[in-house]
């Protein structure tokens, strides 16, 4: 039978801990859960293939937030991230990460992933952040996924590739009971009963449309369509600070980073068209992105990553990383444009918007044990609310989630769910395949994401958001009533559009709720241009209550690491001062 042909199928399996998403956090969560209780069944469900899925499909060039003894302390790191995230941080989770991440580095090292060391054998950590030193290059960073995969096989994790989870199942008393998924090549439905579920489904990276117009040319792995955010929302979990968008400085048109984290420590810097520096620090914060945006519009743009002043040997070393790891087609792209870093700077631009706690703070709300607000449901990695947590945060918090979820599974039996919920979800999932005629998913997706660009991209204007909301509602009606999928692959895209639409609605709702400006460009509201600590020094939590999208305030937990008054605005001073 041909691939993609739709098959009528429904099966059910059960496991102790279900991990959804096999990118970065997911494999670590699955591994730790299994090691915690080797007798238990751990299923790792993945929409693509665990061997090459997620943000680190082709590896990673380094750790951006390594807290290494001798270079940084957990207290310093917690302070830096608190300031970088404009104070809206529950420090407990960040501090726990900072305390645990060194152990995880050593563990990754034991998996065969190497980290740069100096002649004394110490880790060669580089400074990129505004205050502290946390960047550790990975000389064989292209091997990360292979090394992880070996560990998963050794631990006998049950891997199910090419299944897209669509909704979570809950019991009548609100506890997690499992998930419903669909095979992306046959459209057969698989119900997975589980005592605990860990969501590791990555960023909402297909929300905005890249300026190239190529729908899959996104900063994030284009498979990261925000399914985890949508699933958590529909399960009633709270999502935190979604208005704190992810927007990144990238190579113009290419949509991969240029990348200052790699080249900065060698002496490269972000410059305007006059060749001058205009930002103090290349670390990706909303405040930095605002200066980047301002420079682009000021007439002093374009903005470049400048490295032509460096020694040719240094440039070669930078190239060997940039063109080998993370986004290895960078070299091919530059070659096509005839750009040689030795005599030309790299033109940069800003990315489309998305949700991602890996770089900002928009994620499913979790506490310091990676628990969401739904009992038995966990989240880790780019989609969980621990801010600025990057790859090492995904590993470290994935580990926390895996251990805690297995403890939960060990002390609970399966929760019962209503069979009607499965029947209803099956109907919803398969609806686009039952229509004879209609609009294909790629058109609904293009329109939705074009509307996101037109109306939701910062600066955020209330009137534009209200209009955007209306246009999105029209697109949603088309999606729900008229979208057609002619095979299983188109159904996969049709389901992804539904995640994208949910994320767009959440972006509107969360952005309109917070009536102030914060996080630089990420949440710049022209109708409320000032930061308002009196009324808005708080998290915002978005959730589905009685079927309606609702937002509420949540107090920031008392700090573990105090921040002095004169430190609080250090990240607000990103622009290089013209006079001394």
């Amino acid at each position: 039978m041909a691939l993609d042909q739709i098959v009528d199928g429904l099966s059910e399996v059960s496991c102790d801990v279900l991990v959804i998403g096999g990118g970065t956090a997911g494999p670590m969560a699955a591994l730790k859960a299994k090691l915690k209780n080797p007798k238990a069944n751990v299923v790792l469900l993945e929409k693509a293939n665990v061997k090459r899925s997620g943000a680190i499909s082709m590896g990673m060039d380094g750790l951006n937030n390594a807290v290494i003894p001798g270079y940084a302390t957990p207290e310093q790191y917690t302070k830096e991230i608190t300031i970088a995230n404009d104070g809206i941080v529950d420090q407990k989770a960040v501090y726990k990460y900072a305390q645990n991440c060194y152990k995880i580095i050593e563990e990754l090292d034991s998996f065969g992933i190497r980290f740069l060391k100096n002649e004394n054998g110490d880790y060669a950590v580089k400074k990129v952040h505004h205050i502290g030193t946390y960047v550790l290059p990975m000389p064989n960073g292209e091997t990360v996924k292979k090394a992880l995969y070996r560990q998963l096989r050794r631990a006998r994790i049950l891997i199910s590739n090419r299944y897209m989870a669509t909704r979570l199942l809950k019991s009548s008393d609100g506890r997690i009971a499992g998930a419903i998924s669909v095979n992306t090549r046959t459209a057969a439905i698989l119900v997975i009963k589980a005592k605990a579920v860990i969501l590791c489904m990555g960023a909402a990276g297909r929300l905005g449309l890249p300026t190239s117009g190529y729908m899959f040319g996104t900063y994030e792995n284009a498979a990261n369509s925000g399914d985890g955010y949508a699933m958590a929302y529909h399960a009633g979990a709270a999502l935190a600070n979604l208005e704190c968008y992810q927007i990144n400085p990238l190579i113009k048109d290419y949509n991969g980073p240029a990348c200052a984290y790699v080249a900065g420590p060698f002496g490269a810097f972000t410059a305007n068209n006059e060749g001058s520096r205009f930002i103090e620090c290349d670390y990706w914060s909303g405040q930095m992105m605002l200066e980047f945006y301002n420079e682009l519009l000021s007439g002093k743009g374009p903005v470049f990553l400048q490295l032509k002043h460096l020694h040719p040997n240094t440039i070669e070393e930078i190239e060997s990383t940039l063109h080998k790891v993370e986004r290895p087609t960078r070299g091919l792209f530059q070659q096509g444009r005839g750009v040689d870093y030795r005599n030309e700077s790299i033109e940069m631009h800003i990315s489309e918007i998305g949700f991602c706690s890996g770089h900002s703070a928009s994620g499913v709300f979790v506490d310091d044990n990676a628990r969401t607000t739904v009992p038995g449901l966990y989240a880790a990695g780019d989609m969980a609310s621990v801010p600025h947590n990057y790859m090492l945060g995904a590993f470290t918090n994935g580990s926390v989630a895996g251990i805690d979820a297995m403890e939960f599974a060990d002390s609970h039996d399966f929760a019962e769910f209503d069979a009607q919920d499965v029947a209803k979800e099956r109907d919803r999932v398969l609806a686009p395949t039952k229509r004879e005629d209609g609009i294909p998913p790629n058109q609904v997706e293009y329109k939705t994401r074009r509307l996101v660009n037109d109306y939701l991209q910062p600066p955020k204007v209330t009137r534009k958001y209200e209009l955007g909301m209306r246009r999105l509602a029209e697109a949603r009606e088309d999606m729900q009533e008229r979208m057609i999928a002619r095979n299983a692959h188109e159904l996969l895209r049709a389901l992804e559009v539904q995640s994208i639409m949910d994320c767009a609605d959440m972006a509107v709702h969360a952005s309109l709720y917070r009536e102030e400006s914060r996080w630089g460009l990420y949440h710049w509201r022209t109708d409320f241009p000032e930061k308002d600590n009196e009324n808005w020094f708080c998290h915002t939590l978005l959730s589905k209550q009685n079927g309606k999208m609702t937002s509420e305030k949540r107090a920031v937990e008392p700090y573990v690491v105090p921040i002095a008054d004169d430190e609080k605005d250090l990240y607000d001073k990103q622009r290089i001062r013209a006079t001394a």
């Binding site: 041909a2 691939l3 993609d4 693509a48 293939n49 061997k51 090459r52 899925s53 997620g54 499909s57 082709m58 590739n161 090419r162 992306t184 090549r185 890249p210 190239s212 117009g213 190529y214 729908m215 899959f216 040319g217 996104t218 792995n221 284009a222 498979a223 048109d253 290419y254 949509n255 986004r327 290895p328 087609t329 091919l332 792209f333 096509g336 444009r337 005629d437 209609g438 609009i439 294909p440 692959h489 996969l492 895209r493």
Partner: protein, 77 residues
Amino acid sequence: MPLASYQTSVPVVVDDAKCIADKGCTVCVDVCPLDVLRISDMTGKAYMAYDECWYCMPCEADCPTGAVTVNIPYLLR
């Protein structure tokens, strides 16, 4: 509303002479994060069936015979 097909030049190119999909190899189809590669019923070789590419490279890097080339999609080239 009737559907029309839409022309697009796809970024992933497979060298049929080197591709061993007809001998049972499915590596590139297996690893693709966007699941856009398929084996042709007509030629028995791998090809890009859907132009939904993140130009990320696993198909090219993992191909055992070096048959797969990833190009930058035209729109962003």
